[in-house]
Symmetry: C2
Subunit: 468 residues, 2 copies
């Protein structure tokens, strides 16, 4: 059997969804959530794809804000994945993102235009994986015939949060010509779709050859085609000019080349706490419980604990999510209202709406443990070989206590090594640098002290420390 070049996969991991607040936030979106099994949705997506393609054939598209987090997540799966992480020069929708991914494949990876590309989001739940693999293999074959293949999910209820695909009746061998793509419908329309039949949820995954998609971009959305039709470097430079448009709206709704494979499979885009509850396995009382929870006479609840003990008594149909700095308690079925909570919090400039107490940086991570008007305590983890570069604070000094590993510390023009259980003092208005020269992560407790411990008292000379 002659082997063609293998299919490539493009994972879109730049989304900033906050519908799973307080667990997901703008600075820590849904794809990074480790909700079950200890692996994030992004990692689960990667593992699913590794049943179809090899690590070097996976391209990850994200944006500047998430790059370090994506890098750290992919490294936990396979070091080979780290080579092909591409950053969007600006936040645009899926159509420009896919165009950028294709250009990268052609120019940087030397993939010929007749090659097949599988595009998928990074934050969905799909099971079982074996069945999914078979559908994708079929899609690859169909794509090689010049089609753009979408994947439809048999709708279980009149969901208004998904797009719909209407297929024609004729089975072409597990796939069907698409009659039309429909944007998110209203409830009445969604109900009609279900009763009419031949409508499927649009799962947001597509398979096509690069040349097919280029041609459809040319026909359907010339603005993108023109920006695509230049060298990668120029495309990146002019990327902000790209229209903010989804591939569904830009191409799928207009193209004559679209076919769909209806999948008999469990799929969810985890668009809310309610859909997460639906997606996860329940216990005998219909609860989904993660974390340190004592549930008494509690049924049909989703309880996600983090650090603290959660005791529940006589509850039914609730969503409870605990994080370091915020707790959500909502009626199940009202998850859509979480966005109103977020809007209110943002209007009040509440940091809980934007980021977590732990932020991820190129050199590691930093968590706020305690905040007081006159001091702040942080835990800083520096990766082996990494460093936090020179900074000056004029209003506060800090104490670093090494609780694990060895730190190489530069203060002014002094260089010293601080070992586990040793500490060092960094005075105000002094240049300083923290490095991890060792082979294990360096863990430091930092106690900041001063008359003003706001985060804007950082003059960054080189790299940044993170917002917190």
């Amino acid at each position: 059997m002659s082997r063609r070049k293998p299919m490539k996969a493009l994972i879109l991991a730049g989304g900033s969804g906050t519908r799973l607040w307080p667990a997901s936030r703008e600075a820590y979106p849904k794809q990074f959530l480790k909700l079950s099994g200890g692996k994030s949705l992004l990692q689960q997506t990667l593992e699913r794809l590794l049943n179809i393609v090899s690590p070097k054939d996976i391209l990850l598209l994200t944006n500047e804000q998430y790059k370090f987090h994506v890098l750290s997540e992919v490294n936990e799966i396979s070091k080979d994945l780290a080579d092909n992480i591409l950053l969007e020069p600006a936040r645009r929708n899926t159509a420009p993102a896919i165009a950028l991914g294709m250009k990268y494949c052609l120019e940087r990876l030397g993939i010929p235009p007749e090659e097949v590309l599988f595009v998928c989001p990074s934050d969905h739940i799909i099971k079982p994986v074996e069945k999914f693999v078979e559908y994708v293999k079929l899609a690859e074959k169909v794509a090689r015939q010049g089609y753009i293949v979408a994947f439809g999910i048999k709708p279980l209820y009149p969901e208004t949060g998904y797009g719909y695909i209407k297929i024609t009746g004729k089975d072409l061998g597990g796939y069907y010509l698409v009659e039309k793509f429909t944007e998110k419908p209203n409830f009445e329309t969604a109900k009609r779709f279900l009763s009419e039949g031949n409508y499927f949820w649009n799962s947001g995954m597509f398979v096509f050859t690069i040349e097919t998609m280029i041609e459809e971009l040319r026909l359907c959305i010339p603005e993108i085609y023109q920006l695509f039709n230049q060298p990668l470097e120029d495309m990146i430079a002019t990327f902000p000019k790209m229209p903010d448009i989804s591939i569904d709206y830009a191409v799928m709704e207009k193209s004559k080349k679209v076919v769909a494979i209806p999948m008999d499979i469990y799929w969810s885009d985890i668009g809310s706490w309610d859909s997460l509850y639906d997606a996860l396995d329940k216990d005998e009382k219909a609860n989904v419980i993660l974390g340190d929870v004592l549930a008494k006479d509690t049924e049909s609840c989703l309880v996600i604990g983090n650090k603290r003990l959660i005791a529940t008594v006589d509850l039914k149909d609730l969503t409870i999510v605990e994080t370091d700095d915020a707790i959500l308690i909502a009626k199940r079925g009202s998850a859509q209202k979480v966005k109103h909570v977020l809007e209110e919090l943002k209007a009040k400039n509440r940091i809980e709406a934007i980021e977590h107490r732990t932020v991820y940086r190129p050199w590691g991570e930093c968590s706020i443990l305690e905040e007081h008007p006159r001091y702040k305590i942080k835990r800083i983890v520096v990766k082996p070989g990494a460093s936090i570069d020179l900074q000056i604070h004029h209003h506060w000094s800090k104490h670093w206590i090494v609780v694990k590993g060895t730190a190489k510390v530069t203060i002014g023009n002094k260089i010293m090594h601080i070992h586990e259980n040793e500490s060092v003092y960094v005075p105000k208005s002094t240049l300083h640098r923290l490095e991890n020269p060792g082979e294990i992560p360096l863990e430091i407790i930092e106690v900041q002290n001063g008359d003003y411990v706001g985060e804007d008292d950082i003059i960054r000379l080189d790299d940044e420390y993170g917002r917190i």
Copy 2:
């Protein structure tokens, strides 16, 4: 008008109730809870009594475990209160506690036996205070006639958690002869009491002359009378022999001298979260909300936040209580089940069942901020002039960083002064002492580091550091 010696008040503040878990715990019972207005129930009780008697006429009875906390609370109200804090030599019920308080009055305070004593718990809510004061003044007059005066509350519903007082029909001038005292009835009996009338809730407060009560102890409960009938010091020494019996059961149910004043007043013993909800003022949506709470479409809920943001969506009839290490979410009306949660937690040896992350010591307080297998971070506050005495830890060393005030630190045989924003290292297996020589509280961040950070690695030489 000739002035008699003023009435004395005896506040019983030794209770260890945990029905308001997770806010109240064995090590931090209900009387210390600051639930509204920033003052604890004990402090509210003191302020209420200060409308009737002066600070020096108030005697506080508590036990060893709570002494520092009581002292600190009392000092916030009046320094004069601190003189008369009496510790129970062992935990017994209210009858032995009252006997001890009377002996102390007679022997230490030189109060004559014909003097009037007002006895009350430290953890009830009573309003309005003006009306209450009038009832107590009436009770004092009645007590001088040789009666033991109880205070009845008109029952609002067939509560099974309270004792009941049945009065005879004849109004003797705002007070009535008592036909009988009844222990907590079952629901059917309580319903019958309400329909029969002349039954009142027993509020647990009593007014009597010391000589009347002594005589009734002699008649009703000779075991206590005998132990009472010896010098204070001997009474303290033999206190553990006292029967564990309430004054209601020991005296009130048997004595012929009991009268009752029915009070037309709001009273609650805050025996559960449900009764706290009943006792507090509601907002326009019938919510009681304390703390940093964003309530969306939420009604008839009790939400008590502590440090974190709590967002509620589409909730009704829930109790939500957040503390540093535990969160309770219960249906309103199911508050009685909190005790089952506590039992389970105790069976699992969970520290959250017993104490908070902050403990109160004679020298100040200590809070755990962060716990990890290899390190622990605490905030220690030392009162001006106080000290934490010499200790040795064999498995861990610690770093102290002064964030406020000045510390006098003894390590081995070295004595040094550590100022704000300075730090000091305490090595393993070294005697050390921490003192606050200054005039303002000393605040220290302690980072413990070692291969074993269990709290049993403390060899206390002098005083103790607290369990945490």
